[in-house]
Symmetry: D2
Subunit: 342 residues, 4 copies
Amino acid sequence: MSASVAVAGASGYAGGEVLRLLLGHPGVEIGAVTAGSNAGERLGSLQPHLLPLADRVLADTTAETLAGHDVVFLGLPHGQSASIARALGDDVVVVDCGADFRLTDPGEWQAFYGGEHAGSWPYGLPELPGQRELLRGARRIAVPGCYPTVSTLAVVPALAAGLVEPDVTVVAASGTSGAGKAAKTHLLGSEVMGNASAYGVGGSHRHTPEIVQNLSGLTGTPVRVGFTPLLVPMSRGILATVQAPLLTGVTAEQVRDAYVSAYADEPFVHVLPEDQWPQTQSVLGSNAVQVQVAVDERVRRLVAVAVVDNLAKGTAGAAVQCMNLALGLDEATGLSTIGLAP
Amino acid sequence: MSASVAVAGASGYAGGEVLRLLLGHPGVEIGAVTAGSNAGERLGSLQPHLLPLADRVLADTTAETLAGHDVVFLGLPHGQSASIARALGDDVVVVDCGADFRLTDPGEWQAFYGGEHAGSWPYGLPELPGQRELLRGARRIAVPGCYPTVSTLAVVPALAAGLVEPDVTVVAASGTSGAGKAAKTHLLGSEVMGNASAYGVGGSHRHTPEIVQNLSGLTGTPVRVGFTPLLVPMSRGILATVQAPLLTGVTAEQVRDAYVSAYADEPFVHVLPEDQWPQTQSVLGSNAVQVQVAVDERVRRLVAVAVVDNLAKGTAGAAVQCMNLALGLDEATGLSTIGLAP
Amino acid sequence: MSASVAVAGASGYAGGEVLRLLLGHPGVEIGAVTAGSNAGERLGSLQPHLLPLADRVLADTTAETLAGHDVVFLGLPHGQSASIARALGDDVVVVDCGADFRLTDPGEWQAFYGGEHAGSWPYGLPELPGQRELLRGARRIAVPGCYPTVSTLAVVPALAAGLVEPDVTVVAASGTSGAGKAAKTHLLGSEVMGNASAYGVGGSHRHTPEIVQNLSGLTGTPVRVGFTPLLVPMSRGILATVQAPLLTGVTAEQVRDAYVSAYADEPFVHVLPEDQWPQTQSVLGSNAVQVQVAVDERVRRLVAVAVVDNLAKGTAGAAVQCMNLALGLDEATGLSTIGLAP
Amino acid sequence: MSASVAVAGASGYAGGEVLRLLLGHPGVEIGAVTAGSNAGERLGSLQPHLLPLADRVLADTTAETLAGHDVVFLGLPHGQSASIARALGDDVVVVDCGADFRLTDPGEWQAFYGGEHAGSWPYGLPELPGQRELLRGARRIAVPGCYPTVSTLAVVPALAAGLVEPDVTVVAASGTSGAGKAAKTHLLGSEVMGNASAYGVGGSHRHTPEIVQNLSGLTGTPVRVGFTPLLVPMSRGILATVQAPLLTGVTAEQVRDAYVSAYADEPFVHVLPEDQWPQTQSVLGSNAVQVQVAVDERVRRLVAVAVVDNLAKGTAGAAVQCMNLALGLDEATGLSTIGLAP
């Protein structure tokens, strides 16, 4: 029997990607598709790549239009998820693609987002040790941010195995779709093509405390995280470089073994063979994370590199993966590890 | 029961795309994957996006390695398909993604390709009136060129309905993957990014006679075709503009009706609602063709625009679609009309 | 002695490009730089590539702030130039980069732009036969649209020499900067990268009547013009393909001779050697137009291809070129035929 | 009186960019332009953007063809410069855009390049404290690598002022032109568009020892340098992020003051106003370096970001700047701080 699913924010990039994945999912039936200012329009004019849904008309995003489904995906600006979630029954699986319920620390929420902290929900990164069990059968799930997903997975094996100091430097290059579909001058094609830029430098990006939370939760001690995001000229994809000082005596072999064994049973995280480095094109449209790791002996640092499709595994793919866990389905249902390249 | 399938030329773009689609096809089992100079390498190092096949090692492309399969896809440089096909049994479905068997006229072959004409096979464009029946159960199929596919489908309804003169002007903008994966200076990223260029101007492109053949076959009279290809800075996708003089008295409404009715039952060709124009992003990775048509009253010309993913419906998607017809499967098996956007 | 120059609309793409060129012009001094909603901001934050002007603060665009200069460049939304020009003295050189004064026919203005027709000024395309003389010493100049510049120059030699029928088909691929710097969803980087699209199909683009006007003025008879613009993933550059039926008996040699002789003395229009096709990268940032022409014997059509930087020769370069003529300077002062590649 | 200048390697990207800049230089006359395998071809077919030189025919790169000039620029594969330089007179200014004479330590040369160490020449980074004086009147100059230029300049003020530990982490995103014009599969447009990748991870990139040399020379103590280069989808430009631990008590204000004062008198290095972050588009085609710096208080690290055009200030611009110093001209002659944007 199919689960009925509603998608709020269906005119945006996250909502569109959720729909794209649900169209290939054998266990769901797509119910309400809703939007804010785009309500009343044909989905075909806003998401022309979703041909089978072209004639759907977007409803208003309200608790009423979203009611009566087994699963509701929320792709809304932050601050809007809590009231809608409250109005939906406790038995409804609510998967929030936004930031509202990711952070457990109200102070961090206040510092980076401002406004009242809505609380926290089970964090939708099944690959984080111990996390998968919390997601099975869950009825509220906070989908991780795209940068935290790829940055966390790039360094978890090293931290979990105690091979590096809890002092992590992340520099990550992202495509523009992570910035959303709202029209802004600095995101115009003319501005971003042929152009690389830095932003949120110095630790001010909102994904910083989320990475800290993931890594500190893993190690049980505060992990220092410096995070620098870059914008590069592509629509999709994030490549994250993650560095940390190696503890004395740790060898490249130990590092490699830690990565290989940490992800040996993960369906979506793949450690590449030695000397093959990740590229974002390989994971476009897929739920895969490709990871590689090296040791820089001159500076005794671990350098891990991981790639993810920010809209797929970085957002909507994780959302569907978590829905699968919540509904008791095979975790990989409707998801793929095959990218669209070249 | 699954059909066993071999793919020759698996390290190239066409072969890689065939494999990508076959990985999602419920009715096949992937057998031999072969290559020329890349034989002996891991597929994972050449096609890192095909994660489930990463550990496959490429065999040499020979009749021997390809023997014993129900279906063989050939993605080879032109001139190489005939000898391999001869060595395979007559009961094997051979789907040639190359040009060798597309043209029926030896003179045209000679003029545009040179060398001996290998002959012609059933032409793999099921949407061409009458063509689908020739492909059901076929054992040899010539997959159309990417430009001919999109250009032909853009104008078939108007020619078939007798609304325009047999005088067609095609200008089509293509991504770079149509030029293949062989390393050439003018195809370097530094050369193609931020750059649009024309090539094969004046009717010299090898796809010209193929478009002529399609359209003249349709109308039963010689159709004049002027074809100008452009290279634009993207990996995948072709957008074709096709123009022809309207016959006296023909109205925009007649034109629209002709397009809508011509493609009403086609699973992969979609005429967009009025005022919505095709964009290549909408069909990336999909087997869909999106079409729109307008009448320019000032010059009394029909202007049709169609988009296709050159590697998918433009090559590998058509190949799989034809295989489905050849094997008696549902024509859409393993194929999608959902694009990867943004 | 330097001419004092003001630039209105300095925060936009046209205004920014005028400033870029003026910074390298030995005969001018940059006076007021003005803007609409961006007035009060540092130029450095809006046009960070214009480092020598980074600390300039944008004034309001008013007749007062623009008064007292020898030359005023207007880069304003259409409809705003007339009132400002009226308030400036008749001896001031006013160069309008917008559309307001390009069309001579009020009916065409009405049909394509709507609102009252402001009139027409000398048309700033010195390469149009007879036009250069009208620009020497002019005090009001209408800079051509980017598409009309490149499309007109691609076909002028053939029409002027009477080699083709007055029936012209233009398909032109443009970068996104031609659409301006206003934030619009369909121009976001995520929407335009990896994407080619058609727009204004069927003769509805506003540059259509301008091309008609140019070509009909040249030949003295109405020229039919079908114009189809494409948007392709690059910031700058237009590549135009222009086709017309050859008159009986016209040879490829005659065509080539007509092009070579037509542009032999033009400083900025260059006919490429045979078999070398234009690419937009070659003219980025330059005032050059590169042209090539072929004859498609199968359909007896001329196919010309020309490239231009839409912001440079397509807008701001033409503006400076015309200012030079107006001021009696060498026409090429401050302009270059050297592109930025790769 | 003009200096006569020859350019070896004129068909490549570095050589082409040297020629582009020399065409705008008032104090030089371009003499021999030479190439290896492209000798005998028209420059116009290889570098179509250099229109004024289109009819030049490339000579062979030999000591004979390069003899008799005041200045010779070498843009050759590494290992080829020494023998040519030896054959030119000691009074000729030889500016090597390649790597042969950059490293002073034969062991580092051996480790990263292999083969015999050719020696070292004055290092062409005038902005390095004390370095400008060594370049005035020099007759042999080694132009820095592109990554070392931007990485070094991003951190020099902090190290020179003693604000950070000698422990530097560089992650830099580069366009593809830095990889040169030789045809390689992984540099094809289809491979690099829509794709970000890492390479040379773990300290193996050849520019690593050059950064170490620069920074250690500056501080007089060994500086640890971890360097990770990324390839992103654009032709030109490098954005470097450089991080280092702040010493105890150092404030953001001290950091900012150090940067502002270090570069106050530099013609080409500009520290941006607070909260404005560098983007590569701003420096395309220019000799400018734009720099910004922040303090990440949570991890007590300095994060500097700098951008450069890898072909201009990163290679050919630096070469011309050094030639100016060598010839006793104004250092900025023929160079610009104005970028080509958008």
